[in-house]
């Protein structure tokens, strides 16, 4: 999700308004005092008495309403006025001063925002912006208080302030709570007490592992009355391998990880080793700075390890194309922009993509600076077209230790065999019998290529037509000679093709090729064609309608027209001279195709009238072999041999190489000796190839030897190159180290350097968002001028510094978050509290919001007891309604048809579901999972009827419900205990009496229904591929399935509470 404007061509970018610059300041000044009076009433954040804070109160107003014309974008700047820089804002130019501190009358800005003159009013009406009364009042206070400026808060280094003073410390669990409590006290609010233990364990277990606690775990926690019970729980969860699987999801959203390329064909991409690396790195609690460097530049680290290279796949997660017609340069640009933009958002909360076409409108990133940043990401040694293959280079194969061993063994054996071959060749005494002309007999005679049987070694292929190859006898059709002929009926173009015969026909000057046909007079064709193959198929003789058979360029030798169709109802001999087909002497025909457009035809005996001796002398004479290869254009040989033959070199080295090849591969004497060795070699090589195919791989980064170079692209268009730029970072941020080469590595280290104002803030804010639902900065993707002011700025800074000081210790940090009293609060809300704090930005209660898509599915599988907890590996294809891929995919895509997996693969965690980016898994996207075409650092959280349909009707959920129902039945003989067990599985708590009675009533209704309707019961419990337990009564199981489905659909189940 971005606002990049690449490759959008046309006229100039719209300007928000068109007042001419200088004129603006010559306009008559005019102050509207009456309006002034009205506005004083209004006030916003700052409160009546508090001092105006530029960053909190003023910058958002200026940024939203003024900066697009009076901000960082130099090209669009009006009247040369900048309101984002104080020196310019307060300067007097042409006797006009935009902002005169402490003087409203002297401030043109004040006049222009309060004037009644429509032409003078700012922001201009055509900008669709309008200042509100409180905003105008705020600007007024600011000017009167001296119009102080501050640097944008997030671009200044964070400051770790002392803990706020609070009066009542009983609620506090750790340092975070001081900040939360102080703010609540400001607003005259009180936090909530700690949530019930059942709620708490469910909340934190979901947050840290993505799955719910088991009743046993709940019991253990309830029974643990020690003061460190919660801490022990958190430690246990942080050690669980499920932790990495849960945390990885957020990261994979941010880095737009997918299992397909994403554009056009959207073929499968092998990227999952990177996904597994992320999971492992998180489980091993890799410090975040290292996590960063490995991903952005793992490949550039000295002696990069395999893991570091896999991590560098981060830069390869962007969508790519292989669309026919696409222009390489355009896509190199798109990829580098995508990488730059994603990295800027993900680590720095900067919407750098805005500067693709022009200077950033709100933040101090010039277009040139954008392309300097881009330059760092523009040197991947890749092709613009992904080729539609799973492993688009640069890529890394990842053999296991065992596979590596096997490969080495094969290589050793192969080397051994080759040595043996060399020795055998060295022992051979070969002398070329010398040049020979093609031998001729005195009279031409027929050499048969096709008669009754398919030519030796040839493969019969049928193209077009309606049926397979049909050989008829005199009983079933017409036969010219021998016992059989081919019969072919067709509506359009149809061909019977025989190719790669091992006994080729050698042709010479003056030879004629022939075949016999019998056209059914009741159903004549439009046209017929005889086609011959040597190294290619470019020899065609046609009879009949020139247009009917569309092969070969008209008027050329490649489409020789022989005249009208031969007479129908009798056998006719078709003949064509090899000269007319432009066949060179010595060419060997190894294939023939009988072609027709429509009609019914019998084809029989085909071959050549030739004087040549049909003897292939290649096996005896290197000269003959070379001559033949030259005539046929040397097909099927290794390139270097082809080149040598063409070169006809007399150089010793070349001659030796050619001879060596000849003896090993062609010479009959050599072949006899080498055949068994060749066979051995082939077996080994086949086995090695087979093994190679099994070895997974992943896309990695690799720097080009010579950088691609980067230019300012005018209006972001790939072919509009301006000034060349060098790699670098925006000036408002700390400089890159001067003594290091500027590349991805120095950039990555710079991101996590202690003086970087953004990275730590951005990351801790996202962790906060993960656990509390909304970040301290709500706009997690934008920490710039247009981003939102933090709800707790001091806390954000405190956390950012704390995180860095801890050595970027992620688990320790998350433990801090979940250990706070703020996190552990009860989430109930009174009407009054809701009025004041509807979004819980003040953290006046515990976090409560809908679980993510993956958690909802995984939870159902888990409580149903069918979750398959195998970690890692290739993505899987669980249940998916038919037709979802087919409805959109390019028909040639390898992800055009969804082939569902079976068995365990159906029950893996959702993290492992194959993510096709142009048609993401339906039950996931319905719950706001992103398509992964672009980065996403903050998911939507919507509530729609389509979601209810998923959890009620999707096979996956119905099957899970049946298993949950089965678990309930098997838990106990006692109805109450069964219901209680089911309820505890989904909510972690015991149901109240009224809840239980509602469940009982529901169960009773379903039982009545299914006892009277066993058919329906049978159908319901048959949903899903796992078989229903045969020991259970189907009506009872069906009724429990419905109750279990009800439990899975409870609001409480779908929420973290």
């Amino acid at each position: 999700m971005s606002n990049t404007e690449i490759a959008i061509r046309g006229r100039g970018v719209a300007c928000a308004h068109a007042l001419s610059g200088v004129m603006l300041f010559h306009l008559r000044r005019f102050i509207c005092c009456a309006l002034f009076g009205l506005l004083v009433v209004a006030a916003a954040h700052a409160g009546e008495n508090a001092v105006v804070d530029f960053n909190r109160d003023i910058r958002p107003i200026l940024s939203e309403n003024c900066f697009s014309c009076h901000g960082p974008d130099e090209k669009k700047r009006k009247a040369k006025l900048r309101l984002d820089v104080r020196d310019i804002a307060v300067s007097v130019r042409e006797s006009v001063q935009a902002v005169k501190p402490k003087d409203l009358d002297g401030s043109e800005l004040w006049r222009r925002i309060t004037t009644k003159d429509e032409d003078d009013l700012m922001p201009p009406s055509d900008s669709n912006k309008k200042l509100t009364a409180p905003q105008i009042a705020m600007l007024r206070r600011w000017i009167l208080e001296g119009a102080e400026y501050k640097g944008h808060w997030s671009f200044e280094p964070p400051i770790k302030s002392g803990l706020p003073k609070i009066s009542d410390k009983r609620w506090v669990k750790n340092d975070i709570d001081y900040f939360i409590a102080a703010k609540l006290a400001d607003k005259k609010m009180k936090p909530e007490p700690e949530a019930a233990k059942e709620t708490l364990i469910r909340r934190v277990t979901f947050d840290l592992t993505g799955l719910p606690p088991t009743p046993e775990e709940v019991d253990a926690f309830l029974a643990d009355k020690k003061s460190d019970a919660y801490e022990k729980l958190v430690d246990r969860l942080l050690q669980s391998p499920r932790y990495g699987e849960q945390q990885a999801r957020y990261w994979l959203d941010a880095v737009r990880y997918g299992d397909t390329h994403g554009l056009h064909l959207d073929n499968e991409r092998s990227m999952w080793p990177y996904r597994d690396w992320v999971v492992n790195a998180l489980n091993e609690n890799m410090p975040f700075d290292q996590f960063t460097v490995w991903q952005i530049a793992g490949d550039l680290l000295p002696d990069a390890t395999r893991e570091q290279k896999v991590a560098s796949g981060y830069n390869r997660c962007n969508i790519t194309t292989s669309e026919g017609g696409a222009i390489d340069d355009e896509f190199y640009v798109r990829y580098a922009i995508d990488r730059t933009e994603t990295t800027a958002i993900n680590w720095m909360g900067l919407t750098a993509g805005c500067a693709v076409c022009h200077d950033h409108k709100f933040d101090p990133i010039s277009q040139k600076e954008f392309y300097s940043l881009y330059s760092i990401f523009n040197n991947n040694n890749e092709k613009a077209m992904d080729g539609g293959i799973a492993l688009t280079p640069p890529m890394l194969k990842l053999p296991s230790a065992e596979q590596e061993k096997q490969l080495a063994e094969f290589d050793q054996q192969i080397a051994g065999v080759k040595k043996e071959m060399d020795a055998a060749v060295a022992n051979l005494d070969y002398k070329d019998p010398g040049p020979h002309e093609l031998e001729k007999v005195t009279e031409p005679r027929e050499i048969i290529f096709f008669e009754d049987e398919i030519p030796v070694g040839a493969k019969a292929v049928k193209i077009g037509g309606t049926s397979e190859l049909e050989l008829v006898t005199t009983n079933t059709g017409k036969v010219f000679s021998g016992a059989k002929a081919i019969k072919r009926s067709a509506t359009g173009v149809a061909q019977d093709v025989f190719e790669n015969s091992m006994q080729p026909l050698i042709v010479g000057n003056g030879d004629k090729l022939f075949a016999h046909i019998f056209i059914d007079p009741a159903n004549p064709p439009k046209a017929i064609m005889l086609q011959f193959k040597t190294t290619d198929w470019n020899y065609r003789a046609n009879w009949g309608d020139e247009e009917a058979i569309p092969y070969g360029e008209k008027g050329s030798e490649k489409k020789l027209m022989m005249g009208p169709l031969p007479k129908a109802g009798e056998w006719v001999r078709l003949e064509v001279e090899t000269d007319k087909l432009a066949m060179k002497d010595g060419l060997r025909i190894n294939g023939v195709a009988f072609t027709q457009h429509g009609g019914t035809i019998f084809w029989d005996k085909a071959g050549a009238m030739t004087q040549l001796v049909q003897k292939d002398r290649s096996a005896e004479s290197q000269w003959a072999w070379e001559a033949h290869q030259r005539a046929e254009g040397a097909g099927g040989l290794p390139t270097e041999i082809t080149t040598l033959i063409k070169k006809n070199s007399t150089n010793d080295v070349d001659e030796k190489a050619l001879k060596n090849y000849y003896i090993k591969n062609v010479f009959s004497g050599g072949r006899i000796v080498l055949e068994p060795l060749n066979a051995k070699l082939k077996t080994l090589q086949d086995k090695r190839n087979e093994l190679e195919k099994q070895i997974p791989g992943t896309l990695v980064s690799q720097e080009m030897e010579k950088p691609r170079g980067a230019y300012i692209l005018r209006r972001g268009e790939y072919d509009q190159r301006g000034e060349e730029v060098q790699p670098g970072v925006p000036k408002f941020l700390p400089p890159l180290p001067a003594d290091e080469k500027t590349n991805r590595l120095s950039f990555a280290k710079w991101l996590v350097a202690p003086n970087h104002p953004l990275t730590s803030r951005v990351i801790v804010n996202r962790y906060w968002q993960q656990f509390f639902g909304t970040g301290l900065v709500k706009s997690a993707e934008d920490f710039g001028s247009q981003g939102e002011w933090p709800s707790h700025p001091e806390l954000l800074d405190w956390l950012a510094i704390h995180f860095m000081e801890s050595g970027w210790n992620v688990k320790a940090f998350q433990k801090l978050l979940v250990s706070s009293a703020a996190y552990r609060q009860d989430s109930r809300v009174t009407e009054k509290k809701y009025e004041i704090d509807p979004e819980n930005r003040l953290v006046s209660r515990g976090p409560r919001f809908r679980l993510d898509a993956e958690q909802i599915r995984d939870n159902a599988l888990f409580v149903g007891g069918i979750l398959e907890e195998k970690m890692g590996g290739r993505p899987v294809r669980p249940y998916q309604p038919e037709g979802i891929w087919e409805a959109v995919a390019y028909t040639k895509s390898d992800t055009a048809n969804y082939k569902q997996d079976h068995g365990d693969a159906l029950y893996r965690r959702s993290l492992y579901t194959l993510w096709k980016r142009t048609a993401a898994p339906a039950s996931m996207t319905t719950f706001d999972a992103p398509s992964r075409e672009k980065y996403c650092v903050r998911r939507e959280r919507t509530d729609t009827p389509l979601q209810a349909l998923v959890t009620m009707n999707d096979i996956q959920f119905v099957e899970a419900a049946r298993h949950l129902g089965e678990r309930m039945i098997q838990q106990s003989q006692n109805l109450d205990q069964r219901l209680e067990f089911g309820f505890r599985l989904v909510t972690a708590r015991r149901p109240s009496t009224s809840e239980k009675s509602i469940l009982k009533q529901a169960l009773q209704k379903h039982l009545t229904k299914y006892e009277s309707d066993p058919d329906s019961a049978g159908k319901l419990i048959a949903v899903g591929e796992s078989p229903a337990n045969k020991n259970l009564k189907s009506s009872e199981l069906a009724a429990y399935t419905m109750v279990a489905s009800l439990l899975l659909n409870l609001d409480e189940t779908l929420n973290k509470n």
Binding site: A7, I8, R828, L946
Partner: protein
């Protein structure tokens, strides 16, 4: 979130809290006829759950809804709508360089040594009082010529499918942005409480060739809340994903389950107080209503023979364009805001005369049927119907050229679309191209201006329908100055 919407959201939540949530909770405890209460109150809320934004429509709309017939792949304008009789005499002549002006080509033809002109082999005639030209391939659509404005001067910048189709449907060439239909849903809200506001169909096509891909992003919501994304009405399997109860679960059983669910959720609401719980209850009720309204929607047994005939013989075959067009009318009747039909395989690089007629046969009669049917029911005035693809095709031939057989590459510099119904002046042609249907020579219309015009017909000022994302006021028509095509408005 847009401040307007935020405000609205808050209002409705507060309202909910006061008027229904807590009150219903109390009633629940008293053990009254609970499910009915829930249903009554939640349906009221559901109807409000998706209203228009405050201030929208910006002005009185001419059309209430949009039906977009999208021909994915790029139909050939000079074989269908942009009549160039003069070209016949230039058969196989080289396209003059003065026309081509070195403009960029796809890599599929940029290597060609010649650019020979391939005149259309199809006959054109004038139709209607307006005398609008149509190819013989669209002779049925041509019958309603007087209802439509044919625009011959549409242009774009993208030259390949993925970027081009993403561009015309979402306003940008790269993924991640909100689609046209999702903007309409977001801005104008939903008029019905038992069907989604934005419905998409992807029927089959007759030229059984490899068809260019579609992407869910074409009806996705991008940065807008996901509830505005288009919902597929499918021909295979469930018409709406997961709409059918599982085997063995009938409507009564579902109702029983939902009643118990609502009771339990209300108890939870009583305890927790979060208004979102009530939203969830109402969403489950709407899901239940959808479960009955979708079968009603897809049951065409009550359509008269005369109506079915309008759409052609395939009207009763689910999965065809014709059936989809009929569904579009039925969806329109039920208050669905935006209906898009994506018909594939219009990418005729070669063998155009083999494939184009098949494709036209799919859509020609049905387009006529749709417009006539809407008109007969008095709905055409309030329904905007749009027909077109993502770009046009070249006058010069790709591959083999004969008088009877040719192919055409992608062409972004001009192509034709038509619009009909609410807000559109019927019986007119807008814009002109040069003799080679290569460059626009009069009244150019950028694809974003098509979108601006669509929004205009629905009462939206495209400059004002914005959504704050990444600090910017995002809009469908992008940052450049774009105008409504006033010349085609009624």
């Amino acid at each position: 979130m847009n401040p307007f919407q935020e405000h609205l959201h808050l209002l409705s939540r507060r309202h909910f809290f006061k008027s229904t949530g807590l009150a219903v909770g109390r009633i629940a405890l008293a053990g009254l006829m609970l499910p009915e209460v829930v249903r009554a109150s939640s349906s009221k809320i559901a109807a409000q759950a998706h209203p228009s934004l405050p201030g929208l429509p910006h002005f009185a709309p001419k059309a209430k809804r949009l039906i977009y017939l999208f021909m994915n792949g790029g139909p050939s304008q000079m074989d269908l709508l942009d009549y160039k009789p003069g070209m016949r005499k230039s058969f196989d002549a080289d396209l003059p360089e003065s026309i081509r002006m070195g403009q960029r080509l796809t890599t599929m033809t940029s290597g060609q040594s010649r650019f020979p002109i391939a005149p259309s082999k199809y006959e054109f005639k004038q139709y209607g009082k307006s005398g609008t030209w149509f190819s013989e391939l669209l002779k049925n659509t041509a019958q309603v010529a007087d209802e439509m404005a044919v625009i011959k001067s549409v242009h774009t910048e993208a030259i390949n499918h993925d970027p081009a189709v993403t561009y015309i449907q979402t306003g940008r060439q790269i993924p991640g942005n909100a689609s046209l239909g999702s903007w309409l849903s977001y801005g104008l809200g939903s008029e019905c409480d038992n069907l989604p506001a934005f419905v998409v169909m992807t029927p089959s096509w007759s030229a059984k060739r490899d068809a260019q891909a579609l992407y869910q992003r074409l009806w996705g919501s991008g940065f807008l809340p996901t509830k505005h994304a288009g919902v597929s009405l499918r021909a295979k399997g469930d018409p709406v994903l997961f709409i059918k109860d599982p085997p063995g679960v009938d409507s009564r059983t579902r109702r029983d389950m939902l009643d118990a669910l609502a009771q339990l959720n209300l108890l939870e609401h009583k305890k927790i107080g979060d208004p979102e719980i009530n939203t969830r209850i109402s969403q489950y009720e709407m899901a239940f209503r959808m479960q009955s309204s979708v079968p009603d929607l897809t049951d065409i047994s009550k359509e008269s023979k005369a109506t079915l005939e309008l759409y052609g013989p395939e009207a009763t075959t689910p999965g065809t364009f014709s059936h989809s067009a009929l569904m579009a009318r039925r969806l329109a009747e039920r208050g669905v805001r935006c209906i898009e039909i994506f018909h594939r395989e219009w990418d005729h690089h070669t063998d155009l005369p083999r494939d184009l007629p098949l494709q036209c046969r799919d859509v020609d009669r049905a387009s006529y049927g749709l417009i006539t049917d809407l008109k007969n029911r008095g709905m055409l005035d309030e329904t905007l119907v749009v027909w077109g693809g993502e770009f046009g095709r070249t006058v010069y031939c790709q591959g083999k050229l004969t008088k009877e057989d040719y192919g055409r590459d992608h062409h972004p510099r001009c192509f034709s679309m038509w619009m009909a119904g609410g807000g559109i002046k019927g019986g007119m042609t807008y814009g002109e191209t040069d003799d080679f249907s290569y460059n626009v020579v009069k009244d150019p219309v950028h694809i974003s201006e098509i979108n601006a015009t669509i929004l205009h017909c629905l009462g939206i000022d495209h400059r004002k329908l914005t959504f704050k994302f990444q600090g910017l006021d995002q809009r469908l028509t992008g940052v450049e100055e774009r105008d409504v095509v006033k010349g085609i408005l009624s």
